[in-house]
């Protein structure tokens, strides 16, 4: 199938020139759009959602405060429910929530099993059987007493990672992955298949899980238990990977991965620039994170690496000409959504109006977390994307589309 052309369910926004008559074919009997005081439905630019979500994930990385983290989850839930489309990949947010819960559970389990020690001031919960290790292996303890503090600190730590995962999940849910592919620089054509698979595999997985589960339900198969899990996992993985590959092949056939008119020399220059740039980025990241690394390895290496990468993308992109059919417009709502996300991240990094310690409430000794007003407002501000973005579809047009989609798949 391998269609890059969006089907009816992923109706693109109207072009910049045409007046927006609502997405797709207007339902019969409604000549003029009756907005009823509401804004005209339109799909937000995928990059706007990605900027919003990545900025929120950056903001999350700053805090360990469970109140703020739960608030982020609530805000993500609200924005996703309010502004997701009816596309197949847009119903998968709950799977990201499951993944997040798994992350927290694994973190807590590991903290309990690989004991990090208990202090006399801690609140003892229970003791796991202790497996003694020889002296030369000191440093890793297996089993032993487990304290409430240890579990809580593991849980909040896991919750932070879970929140970041959910941010990415929200971006995958809200933004159309196929339209997001179009904004990638043309120079990435060397990596055409890899990039396509990388970007689309998560939404495809969600789609596959839903399809396989539905098929099992229709065949009255067991939908719970370990055997059912095996029956779901294998076809889902196979299906998702195959569909991603088919999408990549489809994009290939439409010229996405074509080498164009590149000469051997220009291709080598591009490759060298990209490789050097990537090395620079790696060295820069290492230098920034390791305080003992020499100074030139930090920001300078990062800057040089970024410049080389941009240069490589430029020279690579110059020989690939691409035309865009029905471009996604970037208008005020896009600015607003991306802006609220970036602003909330900036507020959480600015340390203005609150004590930085409030972002990381103490667990040793245990104390109630506080709710610093500025970060709270920043997260709520990111939540305004839920009504700053235009509604994605006309609610009343949905049932028709749903049946149509069911017929096509």
């Amino acid at each position: 199938m391998a269609r890059t052309d969006p089907g009816p369910a992923e109706s693109p926004p109207p072009g910049p020139g045409t007046p927006p008559p609502g997405p797709g074919v207007p339902p019969p009997g409604r000549a003029a759009p009756d907005t009823g005081g509401r804004r005209l439905p339109r799909i937000l630019h995928p990059v706007a959602w990605w900027i919003w979500a990545l900025a929120l994930a950056t903001a999350v990385s700053r805090t360990n405060n469970p109140l703020l983290l739960f608030l982020v989850l609530a805000v993500l839930g609200y924005v996703v429910t309010a502004r997701r489309t009816e596309a197949p990949w847009a119903r998968g947010f709950v799977y990201y929530l499951y993944l997040a819960a798994t992350v927290v559970a694994i973190r807590v389990l590991f903290r309990a099993v690989f004991a990090t020690g208990i202090t006399p001031h801690d609140h003892f919960l229970f003791a796991l059987p202790h497996i003694p290790t020889p002296d030369w292996y000191a440093g890793i303890q297996l089993g032993g007493p487990v304290s409430l503090e240890a579990l809580l600190s593991a849980a909040t730590d896991g919750l932070r990672l879970a929140c970041m995962l959910c941010c990415i999940g929200a971006a995958n849910t809200l933004a159309n992955p196929k339209r997001a592919l179009r904004v990638l620089p043309g120079a990435l054509h060397e990596l055409g298949v890899a990039v396509t698979v990388a970007i689309s595999v998560a939404p495809q997985l969600v789609q596959s899980v839903r399809r396989v589960a539905r098929a099992r339900r229709l065949r009255a198969g067991r939908s719970k238990g370990l055997t059912a899990l095996r029956g779901i996992v294998v076809p889902v993985l196979e299906d998702a990977l195959e569909r991603s590959l088919r999408l990549a092949a489809g994009m290939d056939s439409r010229g996405y991965g074509r080498a164009g008119t590149a000469s051997r020399r220009s291709r080598r220059v591009t490759g060298a620039l990209m490789l050097l740039g990537m090395c620079g980025l790696c060295a820069g990241a290492y230098g920034l994170l390791d305080a003992t690394a020499p100074a030139f390895l930090g920001l300078p290496a990062l800057g040089v690496g970024a410049l080389l990468c941009v240069g490589g993308l430029r020279t690579g992109g110059r020989r690939v000409t691409r035309t865009t059919y029905r471009p996604d417009p970037w208008r005020l709502p896009e600015w607003a959504v991306a802006g609220t996300g970036v602003l909330s991240a900036l507020l959480l990094f600015a340390n203005i109006g609150y004590d930085a310690a409030e972002l990381n409430p103490s667990i040793y000794p245990l104390s109630w977390p506080t709710l610093p007003p500025v970060p709270t407002l920043a997260i709520l501000l990111a939540g305004t994307a839920g009504f700053l973005a235009p509604p994605p579809t006309e609610p009343r047009a949905v049932p028709a589309r749903r049946t149509e989609k069911a017929a096509t798949t």
Binding site: T81, A127, A150
Partner: protein
């Protein structure tokens, strides 16, 4: 597909109740004991020294009965540590003494948030000197695993080292910090009997106690020769006012402050760092905070959740 809301709510309530109980109840006492400094001799007791000079403070030293662990020494008699969120309590990220600046733990949260492992350029490094040793040895074990020998000195300094511990070595010598009296002095009751609470069952606290020497309190006939009329450390948690190094604050006259702290041998290679004895003190009062922000946060999360449910309803109604 999902847990029924009533059960989920019940679970949540149980978890909250547990957390609440933990925050409101105390812990039971017993364990390795803090001692006044005079009770440490050249062959018994372990000396703990912590260098607060980075924050304008002195080097505090105190004494604890052996067998103990480096961690227990650092968490009794008014001492308290904080671990990191990433590594747990075993990684010493902050150290505080209730007699110094009201028990504030250093480095303060503005300097290190203690979420991830601190950088090797700014952390509490751990040094040992065995009985009679002239030089410091960089600890190859964590505080929870290391068991100080009787008569040894444990030193914590803040700064940077390399992995082998060849750089960033302490400026003081072990001799400036160790106990020089051969017999315990300053007997009687310590200022505070606050000690670490009992460890939970199954905690590895090392070999059984081996008493080499009767630890009977001898009469305080030979007090340690006071080196100089010196600043006195006030172990009372209320004495140290904020921002004021506590050794300059006068004792508030509370009965707890019985053994006057003495300076150790001043001078030497240590330059101007003062060594102040830290008597066992009560733990600094810890304020668990109020529940109001939690309630407010919960209400806010609930509000946004209701908005999400409303949005979902709206969608379905429109569909």
């Amino acid at each position: 597909m999902s847990v029924p809301p009533s059960r989920r709510a019940a679970r949540l309530t149980a978890a909250l109740a547990l957390a609440f109980a933990a925050l409101t109840t105390g812990a039971a006492p017993a364990g390795a004991a803090p001692q006044p400094m005079g009770r440490c001799t050249t062959g018994s007791g372990a000396v703990l020294a912590v260098d607060f000079s980075r924050w304008g403070g002195p080097i505090y030293r105190s004494c604890g009965s052996t067998p103990t662990t480096g961690y227990e020494l650092l968490n009794q008699g008014g001492w308290r540590t904080t671990g990191t969120g990433h590594d747990g309590p075993a990684f010493i990220c902050r150290i505080g003494y209730s007699g110094y600046r009201n028990g504030t733990q250093f480095p303060p949260p503005e300097q290190d948030d203690c979420v991830l492992t601190p950088p090797a350029s700014a952390y509490w490094s751990y040094w040992h000197a065995g009985p009679g040793a002239d030089d410091w040895e960089y600890s190859q074990l964590g505080a929870m695993l290391y068991k100080p020998k009787p008569g040894s000195v444990d030193l914590w300094i803040f700064g940077g080292t390399d992995i082998g511990g060849t750089q960033g070595r302490p400026q003081v010598t072990p001799d400036q910090l160790r106990a020089h009296n051969t017999r315990p002095s300053g007997g009687g009751e310590p200022a505070s009997t606050a000690r670490a609470p009992a460890l939970p069952p199954g905690t590895d606290t090392g070999p059984a106690p081996v008493r080499t020497e009767p630890e009977r309190p001898t009469s305080p006939t030979a007090p340690e020769p006071p080196a100089s009329p010196s600043p006195t450390a006030s172990p009372s948690p209320s004495a140290g006012e904020t921002g004021e190094p506590s050794e300059s604050a006068e004792p508030t006259g509370s009965a707890e402050v019985s053994p006057p702290a003495t300076t150790g041998p001043a001078g030497g290679s240590g330059g101007d760092t003062r060594v102040v004895d830290a008597a066992p003190a009560a733990d600094a009062k810890h304020d668990a905070g109020s529940m109001v922000p939690v309630a407010a946060g919960g209400a806010l999360v609930l509000l946004v959740g209701v908005a999400a449910v409303f949005a979902a309803r709206h969608r379905r109604r429109g569909a």
